[in-house]
């Protein structure tokens, strides 16, 4: 008798299956690909500290590409770049902070932990729908013959386009407004070339988040280092991308051609091109996280934190999955799904989303996306341009000029400053 069906062996699903199986429940973990992670386009920085409690010393075995010891935020305009760069040797040793990884490796590893705990992994099987009795979900339909599987609890971890959450009317059929599109190129370079270009050694890696590289389409760019490749890409609003009639790969080409990025990617061979939808609606647009008989986790629940300097998804997926798995037995016994939401409210998963609920509105606003990069670049260029024999201009004068030049009124700056301060306080 199956107790829990987990749909999707990504980070959320495997984390849920891991704790539910450890709790002695009979768990079936369904995966549509031939192995966990095989269909995944994402590859990025994974912050694994969420695993401390359930997989001690996870860092000794996680399939890491590089440990991120250098974190940069870059503002680009045409021909100009301002970078705030931070590095810490603390992030290069246990318990580490974040690592770059390929999700095909990471997901397989985490699903392996769930299997070790007793979960039964069934691959190459698509959950095509729900089995519902009355108002209660009692199982899933799959694309295999005789493919209905019943259980008192279904955990939907089937990703951003969750068919199950849509069928349960937890997610709208289309939700482009709250989705971004991430496109990424993996570019092959020798390891020593990456070390030299990015100023790192050994397992050290770099994560660069970029603003102002998307032709004014709300979003941003990224560059991060893998062992012998680098990933370059952009994440942009689906709605605005469609309205701008721009192809996402052209934005990546722009980014690669920028003078600040071109030297990093010079001579690299394209190894992989992928695209992936990301739920970035934030706390105010989270769907209901459960329905009788079913919990929704990870991207399916829109639990991806996109708050400017923080772009995190996998840790929130794992966090929500762990809470689903942890409370599975209680939910089965009481037929009450409320403890799941309550548990999420008590953890970073919903606390961070709630605290930063205004962040998407600030970060993706027109001024931040289209005007402030130019303003910042003008201001910094003015500060560092030596205009002798003319005396140096004052900062306020430069700021006024930069604001005027970019169509920003000073009251806008103050308003946005206050708004940003309120969001990120």
């Amino acid at each position: 008798m199956t107790d829990v069906i987990v749909v999707g062996a990504g980070p959320a699903g495997s984390a849920a299956a891991l704790l539910a199986a450890r709790d002695g429940l009979d768990v079936v973990l369904l995966e549509r690909g031939p192995f966990p992670g095989s269909k995944n386009a994402y590859g990025g920085v994974v912050y694994g500290r969420v695993l401390d409690e359930v997989l001690p010393n996870w860092w000794d075995e996680v399939p890491v590409q590089r440990w991120v010891t250098r974190r940069s935020t870059m503002v680009l305009t045409e021909g100009r770049a301002l970078t705030v760069d931070f590095r810490s040797t603390d992030w290069g040793k246990a318990p580490y902070n974040g690592c770059t990884t390929f999700r095909a490796d990471f997901d397989s590893w985490l699903a392996g932990k769930a299997v070790e705990a007793g979960a039964q992994l069934v691959t190459s099987t698509v959950a095509t729908g729900l089995v519902v009795e009355g108002d209660r979900v009692v199982g899933v339909r799959t694309d295999r013959s005789d493919g209905d599987l019943r259980a008192p609890l279904v955990i939907a971890a089937d990703g951003v386009k969750s068919f199950l959450a849509k069928e349960a009317v937890l997610l709208p059929r289309t939700q482009a407004k709250h989705l971004t599109l991430g496109v990424k190129e993996v570019l092959s370079l020798p390891r020593e070339v990456i070390d030299e270009r990015f100023g790192v050694r050994g397992n050290e890696g770099v994560d660069v988040e970029i603003l102002g590289c998307t032709r004014g389409i709300p979003g941003g760019g990224f560059v991060y280092t893998n062992r012998d490749s680098i990933s370059v890409g952009v994440v942009v609003s689906v709605e605005h991308l469609a309205a701008a009639k721009v192809r996402a790969e052209d934005l990546v080409a722009d980014l690669k051609a920028h003078p600040a990025v071109a030297p990093w990617v010079e001579g690299a061979d394209l190894k992989e091109y992928t695209a992936h939808l990301i739920p970035e609606g934030g706390y105010d647009h989270l769907p209901p996280l459960s329905t009788p008989g079913m919990l929704v986790t990870g991207d399916a629940a829109g639990l991806c934190l996109a708050a400017g300097i923080w772009l995190e998804g996998v840790n929130f997926a794992i966090g929500s999955g762990l809470e689903a798995g942890r409370h599975a037995r209680r939910i089965i016994e009481t037929r009450d799904e409320k403890p799941y939401r309550a548990a999420l409210e008590e953890t970073f998963v919903l606390q961070d989303h709630k605290r930063l609920r205004g962040a998407p509105g600030v970060v993706l606003s027109e001024r931040v996306q289209q005007q402030y990069p130019g303003l910042i670049a003008d201001l910094v260029q003015g500060l560092f341009t030596v205009t002798n024999p003319t005396a140096k201009p004052g900062v306020v004068k430069l700021l006024r000029a930069a604001a005027k030049n970019n169509g920003v009124k000073l009251r806008h700056l103050m308003t946005d400053g206050l708004r940003g301060g309120k969001v990120f306080r």
Partner: protein, 290 residues
């Protein structure tokens, strides 16, 4: 002949997405992408169909390590018996393995004499296509290679083989036989969900048959790089070498200056030059080399 009782399928399980480093020649294999090739899968599907029609058992054998257990479990979920012949060599050693010895080991692992043996026409990674012939030799039965379709005709088979120019050859194959098949549009069926769940924890039987090591031993493998040629270091200064290359200051025949002359004078001068350098005979031109 009595009704067939056992259809054996020898399926090769291999990594279908092997990556080879272009610089170092290093081969990286991934156990997660180990699977049956489309031809192997077609052989299994033919085996299941024929065994079902005859009321016979299907036994699927593969030689390899534990990474083959996953695909074998999937086949077990389809109702076939499965068995793995354990091999302990490295990938490179496997590539150089003696296929006759492997065929002998596989036949031995079958446990009983099969009525029909099915194989892929060639494996995805080796590609010699020699194994079916060795198996047929071991069993002392007929062999039909390169088949695109197999139909039951009583206790015999009607097989079709691809020929040049789009033609097909239709054959009657008596049993017992070894048949190797192309994928040719035949796809392996998917197991039902209950069967997949039941097979997920199935322990794949392992036959510890002694597979002799390769007759040809691999001493090492690396990317092909031609040895550098040893050239003597150049002698003399760079100026001297430059002069030697260009012949700038060496004595040479000075250029012939003709003219200004009229057309007949120019023709005479040309003929004289050719005769002087041996391109024209004196008799033919009337000009003697000066």
């Amino acid at each position: 002949m009595a009704e067939p009782r056992l259809v054996a399928v020898l399926a090769r399980c291999s990594d279908l997405r092997v990556e080879v480093d272009a610089l170092t020649g290093a081969v990286s294999r991934d156990a997660r992408t180990v699977a049956f090739s489309s031809s192997d899968a077609a052989a299994i599907e033919h085996g299941l169909q024929l065994a079902s029609a005859w009321g016979a058992r299907t036994l699927v054998l593969t030689a390899g390590g534990p990474e083959c257990d996953g695909p074998l479990r999937d086949v077990a979920a389809l109702g076939a018996e499965v068995r793995r012949v354990a091999t302990h060599g490295s990938y490179v050693e496997e590539l150089a393995a003696d296929e006759r010895a492997l065929a002998r080991a596989m036949v031995s692992a079958m446990g009983e004499r099969p009525d029909l043996v099915l194989c892929a026409d060639r494996s995805a990674d080796r590609g010699t296509g020699a194994l079916p012939a060795f198996v047929a030799h071991e069993l002392g039965v007929v062999q039909a290679p390169g088949l695109v379709s197999l139909e039951r005709d009583g206790n015999e088979l009607i097989a079709e083989r691809r020929l040049d120019f789009g033609r097909r050859e239709r054959m009657r194959v008596p049993l017992p036989a070894v048949c190797s098949v192309e994928a040719a549009g035949t796809r392996l069926r998917r197991a039902s969900l209950p069967a997949s769940l039941a097979a997920a924890r199935f322990e794949v039987p392992v036959a510890e048959v002694a597979v002799p090591g390769p007759a040809v031993r691999v001493l090492g493998s690396r990317a092909a790089r031609p040895r550098p040629r040893h050239l003597p270091a150049p002698t003399g200064s760079s100026r001297e070498r430059l002069l030697a290359l260009t012949g700038a200051l060496l004595s040479h025949e000075p250029p012939t200056v003709i003219g200004p002359v009229d057309a007949s004078g120019a023709a005479d001068a040309l003929l004289e030059f050719l005769a002087r350098n041996g391109y024209l005979s004196e008799a033919r031109t009337g000009y003697a080399a000066s």
